[in-house]
């Protein structure tokens, strides 16, 4: 059984790996569309299945990007109360957020299992590439499981929100 710090390092390694997969999916998504446009306008031969590929890349980008966001507590929250209550209360609220996040993510994870199994049983296929849809669901499940793990880790550690990667705060949500 690994110790707490080794466990922490293992989890960080998993979430970093997830993030790299998400980054690769984003670049792949961009390149698929660029190649599709290029082939369409230059050779009048668009890439078959680009619609499916973009959807799949987006699933991977979101599902595998979530764990790092949750582990580092980069989610958007209104921090108005920080000015009104002492730091221990803020820490408690942060822990509550971690526990509730874990529960909600576990619920969503559980909720996604049935459609995945249905897609497998009924042999659903994607529109263009005729790929088994259950594979895409399974990718989403894997990312969500990692996200739930990240939420649990964030709830159980007393870490304050981590410093975001350079520029993340300014990257902006509005």
């Amino acid at each position: 059984m690994p110790g707490p710090s080794r466990l922490r390092r293992l989890l960080d390694w998993i979430f970093d790996l997830d993030l790299r997969i998400a980054m690769a999916a984003l670049l792949a998504m961009m390149m698929v569309v660029v190649a599709d446009v290029f082939m369409r306008y230059v050779f009048n031969a668009p890439i078959r299945g680009s619609f499916d590929l973009v959807g799949m890349c987006l699933v991977v980008m979101v599902a595998f990007g979530l764990p790092r966001v949750i582990a580092d507590r980069l989610e958007l929250a209104i921090e108005l109360i920080d000015m009104l209550v002492p730091p221990p209360v803020v820490r408690v609220l942060s822990m509550v957020a971690g526990i509730l996040s874990t529960l909600v993510l576990l619920f969503i994870l559980w909720a996604m299992i049935k459609p995945t199994v249905s897609a497998y049983n009924y042999g659903d296929r994607s529109l263009e590439l005729n790929l088994p849809v259950w594979i895409i669901w399974a990718l989403a499940l894997a990312g969500m499981a990692s996200a739930a793990l990240a939420a649990l880790a964030a709830a159980l550690t007393r870490r304050t929100p981590a410093a975001p990667p350079p520029g993340a705060k300014e990257a902006g949500l509005e």
């Binding site: 966001v69 958007l76 108005l80 803020v90 909600v104 969503i108 909720a111 300014e170 990257a171 509005e174």
Partner: protein
């Protein structure tokens, strides 16, 4: 408990959770799931939660969001905004307050290749604010100029908020981008007028820049050619019907990378950083969209929007009164909530009411974005103000609050103008599509 009352209660609990520092996505998802359990049962709640999450994650239409964010990130790392500012500064030199107007113009131009307001404000804080301070501009005024100019990032297309609004309202993104262009330019002009008025009323706060020669002004126009290329290819491509928004976003992101690499301003580590920030920012957004979609499904099931529409019509409220009430709600919410959350929480409730009163969803989308912009610069939690203050710690937030007050008039005047002449919004989409 009646369904609409359950919907209202869920909204109250959701706001309480947000106030208690719970993440926005969590407040929305938790109330949506709990509401669906109470309204129907666990199986229905699970079906909604599972399928909504997957549908959002795999939505082709929403793939525009990370791609436009990536284009903005790469443009930022390639220092395109610095070129824009330099050009605008030389062109407007000699004018009292010209540096402030140059900041607003450069922000608007940068907003045309970056769909994020906060990113625009953060970038211009690094580029324009030191120059204004060096030129002797008063701190509060210069910071407020950057904050208000930054809001143009979400109105001038491409706009991430408009993409998300389009997904909720089932409105065409190209039409929304066309609808927001004229109001975006009008707002830019209004901000510039405010800056010039402040400069004229308090010349001590705003010194005059030495004027550049005509040759210098003409030469400066050549500098931001990369920006022109990106804008013409992406937004021009959408307007001309050559690219879908998704294709334009991909080509724009790819083009920004190629231009940055060719000009040796974008290194591989900087590109990777831009990709990482894009993934993280996009995931934060997608979490909120997932939570809001689950919540919106529940709210629609409660028929709360129908009840509110019936109440308004029963009370004999005129359409403009209803819109005024909605705008007041946005004004109040904007003081405490961030923009995306505000849009995702309110649009499913307000849009059926507004549409019931005959307002065009495109027009309403533009008005909502303008109200979000007001929220971005409204104390106490105007996000742009905090972004600037985080970067220039020696400027007290109180000075920023004081400086921003005159600029708040611009978006509010614009809303009045759009009320009087809705064709300013609807003209371009009707012309193009």
């Amino acid at each position: 408990m009646s369904a609409p009352f359950l919907g209202l209660s869920a909204m109250a609990v959701m706001f309480a959770l947000l106030f208690l520092r719970q993440p926005v996505w969590l407040g929305l998802a938790l109330c949506g799931i709990a509401g669906n359990v109470l309204l129907s049962n666990v199986n229905v709640a699970a079906l909604v939660a599972g399928t909504t999450t997957f549908d959002t994650m795999s939505s082709y239409n929403l793939s525009i969001v990370p791609l436009f964010i990536l284009m903005g990130e790469v443009a930022t790392n390639s220092r395109l905004s610095a070129e824009l500012f330099r050009a605008a500064r030389v062109i407007l030199s000699g004018l009292r307050g010209g540096l402030a107007v140059a900041t607003i113009a450069a922000s608007g131009a940068f907003g045309a290749i970056c769909g994020s307001s906060v990113a625009t404000a953060a970038t211009m804080t690094r580029i324009a604010l030191p120059e204004m301070r060096k030129a002797g501009y008063e701190d509060g005024f210069s910071s407020a100029t950057v904050a208000s100019g930054g809001t143009l990032g979400i109105l001038i297309p491409p706009s991430i908020i408009l993409v998300i609004y389009g997904a909720i309202a089932e409105a065409s993104v190209p039409k929304l981008f066309a609808a927001s262009m004229v109001p975006g330019l009008l707002l830019l002009a209004l901000y510039a007028v405010v800056a010039l008025l402040v400069a004229a009323r308090a010349p001590g706060k705003v010194p005059r820049d030495p004027p550049a020669s005509l040759g210098e002004r003409l030469r400066s126009l050549r500098e931001p050619w990369q920006f022109v290329v990106l804008f013409v290819v992406t937004i021009g491509g959408i307007y001309a019907g050559i690219f879908s928004p998704n294709e334009a976003a991909s080509i724009g992101a790819f083009g920004a990378i190629v231009l940055g690499m060719l000009s040796r301003r974008l290194t591989i580590p900087a590109l990777l950083q831009a990709v990482q920030v894009t993934v993280i920012t996009s995931c934060v957004l997608f979490m909120i969209i997932i939570g809001a979609s689950i919540f919106a499904h529940f709210i629609v099931q409660t028929r709360l929007p129908d009840l509110l529409l019936g109440l308004a019509q029963g009370a004999g409220l005129a359409p403009w009164m209803v819109m005024l009430l909605i705008i007041l709600v946005y004004l109040v919410m904007g003081c405490f909530l961030e923009g995306i959350g505000m849009v995702l929480i309110t649009v499913p409730v307000f849009l059926p009411i507004v549409a019931g009163y005959g307002y065009d969803p495109l027009w309403f989308g533009v008005v909502v974005v303008i109200m979000v912009e007001v929220g971005l610069i409204t104390p106490p939690v105007g996000m742009n103000l905090f972004i600037i203050q985080a970067q220039v710690r020696d400027v007290p937030i109180s000075r920023l609050y004081a400086g921003i007050v005159p600029f708040l008039a611009a978006p509010l005047v614009l809303v009045l103008v759009l009320f009087a002449w809705p064709e300013l919004v609807l003209w371009l989409p009707e012309l193009l599509y």
